[in-house]
Amino acid sequence: MIEVSGVTKAYGDKNVVNNISFKVEEGETLVLLGTSGCGKTTTLKMLNSLIEPTNGVVKIDKKDITSEDPTQLRRKIGYVIQDIGLFPHYTVEQNIAVVPRLLKWDKAQIKKRSEELLEVLGLSSSWMKRFPNELSGGQQQRVGIARALIADPPVILMDEPFGALDPITRKQIRDEFKNIEAFISKTIVLVTHDVVEAVELGDKICLLHDGAIVQMGTPKDLIFSPKNDFVKRFFDNQRFMIELMVMTLEDMIPVLESRNDQKPEKLQFTKETSLFNALECVEESVENDIAIEIVNENKKPMISTDREALLRAFYGTKDILSKNRATA
């Protein structure tokens, strides 16, 4: 869907983005991850022609984007900007309706779609008539996201879409967001410097440093087979949590001990559930010693176990993963 080849952006004699190439398949989410100033925003803006690359080609849908009128191009690409950038003189309703109006949708259609979207994003429709300065930072950010999604663009660019939020709200929105249809089906490039966010939302992560790609791959790739010390250290901070997040229950099954002794309570998880989420649920339940049942897509039980066995399996799997990847 998106194909970036050999793209460089120079300001003066400094390459702030240096010869990067990557691909994002349709429906996939790519996270651009890196420390502040490494060139994430610059890279993102080259995808919708807000910045012109000094060198290299960006293709969307196999078409070189420079061959298209940039304003037409941008109307087909959702864009959530880093500073939110809502129009202060427009109400929430008008802010959301910007792109549909550019696309000359009729009023009823705009209204219907806005209402749907607000509901999906957890915004009450009573806010439609409010102005951005009457909303909290987090609420504004949701409006910013709604504005990017409304015209149902196949491609969405998001620059730190949850940046203005406190960690708790951030996690909460992220959870909601992950599950909405729009997010799942779209091709998304998302910028963040938060590793947990990257792991949680990204199908693939592209780790940037000083304008260049250090490593690109699935979260599992980056965590269990870091290309170098930089990559390894980048995830060190919350490594345990991240490892739990990238592993699914299915990954555990080969080494998981089955425990069928009678327990007062039972929790059921699908095999795609991340280890982190499963353990979190267990921690939250009143009873600590609880049976854990893993089911397949047809809700058929695959294996029954408990917390202790799950944790042991985690360490076993981790060893195998690290070894496999190292030899591969």
């Binding site: 919708n48 941008r74 900007i81 939110i84 950038g85 129009f87 202060p88 550019l102 504005r147």
Partner: protein, 523 residues
């Protein structure tokens, strides 16, 4: 306080019609100028916000008009646009431009970059970003600029009365000239109300700008396309013989009113500022003006003084006026000033004024050159403390004469002189002379008669058309009432006079005001 307020109100009620007329003139000059300024200012502001390189030069150029004094700007435009409504509108337009251009530019520039970026990122074109995001967000700042421009314009528009464009300035300037406070207020109060009213109106338009922008813009643009060409055409059209006179001259009983009656003059008249009058006649915007017969500009603009053959204007012969005490102490002054008595003609005085006003020579140098020319010496240099103080009023001719007096006294009476030039008006010089702060200064017989002595009307009427009678009367009365002595007149008569372009007067064969009257009758 209450009384003066009553006076103002009574005056305004008496002159309602005139006030309405002037207010409407004032209003529409301002509104048209502002309309054009808004359109051009917005365009310029938008252009320089797109091409920032141009911002400095454009704002600088537009700003220049703010520092040119209004009168100078009006004068500068006479050769191109003449007098009347057109140059008035152009001047107001130029004055209104800066605040609008600058505020448009600042307003657009102060829209947060993230907002512009968002607009671009959503897929707005440059025009859409401008009209949907930048201009609406800049609107409060732009409106502040428009309101500033409007208030400036209401103020400057009073000056348009000086170039025959009408407006509330007519009352204000006449009032100032005649020292009539009621009249000043009759102009100033409606002007202030206009400013306040329009400020409020603009405030309302700003509030409902979204709904009003289209109708307002359309009206303004249509209005401009209809009105402006109409006035340019009108100002180009043929016109009849026209006189241009300062407000004071138009209003005074001994000004145009009496002149018109005595000579039976029948012509169109407009009010003009004294400084601009000469340019207007030169530029053929008017055909006859009133001025002072020794003004340097008569020569500079090649004008002809019309002979006042019915002696309407009082004689203003210049002569040294000396403190009695000083003359008794230094009687030789009498003899000294005989050397210059009757030695300066109107033309010669006008030429000296011209040297100073137009050629920018020092009054002292011009005085010295003239004395040498008529064979008087100027080379004596005296040391020690001054014993005689020579004063002067605050205009060119009086400066030159005071310098001459100083040369004469030092060279022929051997008395060291101190000069106190530009003392102010007539009143101040008379007081200074009475107190002994100065010993003598150049005065005019007409002024002596009307200001110093101010006799009853019958006496004035009985002597006013004879220059010698006036001189004798003033000399006699000054001695009696003030102990001031008039020495012999210098020769020239700096009176009011009507003037025409030399070649125009020659072509119509007009020498005197009576000739002019006859010519007008036959039109």
């Amino acid at each position: 306080m209450i009384d003066s307020l009553r006076g103002v109100i009574a005056f305004m009620i008496d002159n309602q019609e005139e006030i309405w007329k002037q207010t409407l003139e004032h209003l529409w000059i301002t509104v048209v100028a502002l309309g054009v300024a808004v359109i051009v200012g917005l365009l310029l502001g938008v252009i320089i916000s797109r091409y920032e390189r141009l911002a400095g030069p454009v704002i600088g150029t537009v700003g220049i008009f703010q520092i040119i004094p209004s009168i100078a700007l009006l004068g500068f435009m006479i050769p191109f646009l003449g007098i009347g409504v057109v140059p008035a509108i152009v001047a107001l337009f130029l004055y209104g431009l800066l605040p609008i251009v600058r505020n448009t530019f600042t307003g657009i520039n102060s829209v947060k970059p993230s907002i512009k970026e968002a607009a671009r990122g959503m897929g707005m074109s440059n025009t859409q970003i401008l009209t949907r995001v930048e201009l609406p967000l800049a609107m409060p700042v732009i409106f502040a600029g428009i309101r500033t421009a409007f208030v400036i314009n209401v103020g400057v528009a009073t000056l348009c009365a000086l170039i025959a464009a009408g407006g509330l300035g007519e009352f204000i300037f006449r009032g100032i000239a005649l020292n009539n406070v009621n009249m000043i207020f009759a102009g100033a109060i409606p002007a202030a109300i206009l400013a306040i009213f329009f400020d409020a109106l603009l405030g309302t338009i700003q509030k409902y700008i979204k709904q009003l922008i289209k109708p307002v813009l359309i009206t303004v643009i249509l209005g401009i396309f209809i009105i402006v060409p109409y006035f340019f055409v009108q100002s180009m059209a043929e016109r009849s013989f026209r006189g241009g006179f300062p407000s004071e001259f138009m209003q005074r009983a001994d000004g145009y009113e009496g002149l018109e009656k005595l000579y039976n003059l029948d012509m169109e008249t407009v009010e003009l500022e004294i400084g601009l009058m000469y340019q207007a006649v030169k530029n053929k915007d008017v055909d006859v003006i009133s001025g002072f017969s020794t003004d340097g500009r008569i020569k500079a603009y090649n004008l002809r003084n019309l002979i006042d053959d019915k002696h309407y204007f009082p004689p203003y012969y210049a002569a040294p006026m000396v403190r009695g005490a000083t003359l008794r102490k230094y009687p030789e002054l009498n003899e000294v000033f005989e050397r210059i008595a009757g030695k300066i003609s109107d033309e010669q005085m006008a030429k000296m004024n011209y040297e100073v006003d137009q050629n920018k020579k020092a009054p002292k140098a011009v005085a010295k050159a003239y004395l040498n020319e008529i064979g008087l010496k100027t080379d004596v240099q005296l040391d020690g403390d001054p014993v005689i103080v020579v004063g002067s009023k605050n205009f060119t001719e009086n400066f030159i004469l005071a310098e001459m007096f100083a040369y004469l006294i030092e060279n022929y009476a051997n008395l060291k002189v101190e000069l106190k030039l530009g003392f102010g008006g007539t009143k101040l010089n008379i007081d200074a002379l009475a107190n002994g702060d100065i010993d003598l200064y150049p005065e005019y017989t007409g002024t002596g008669l009307l200001v110093l002595i101010n006799p009853r009307e019958e006496i004035r009427k009985s002597i006013i058309d004879d220059k010698d009678k006036v001189y004798d009367f003033v000399k006699e009365e000054s001695r009696k009432q003030y102990d001031f002595e008039w020495l012999q007149p210098l020769g020239f008569n700096n009176t009011f006079a009507l003037m025409m372009r030399e070649e125009h007067a020659r072509q119509l064969n007009i020498q005197s005001i009576s000739d002019l009257s006859k010519y007008l009758e036959n039109l």
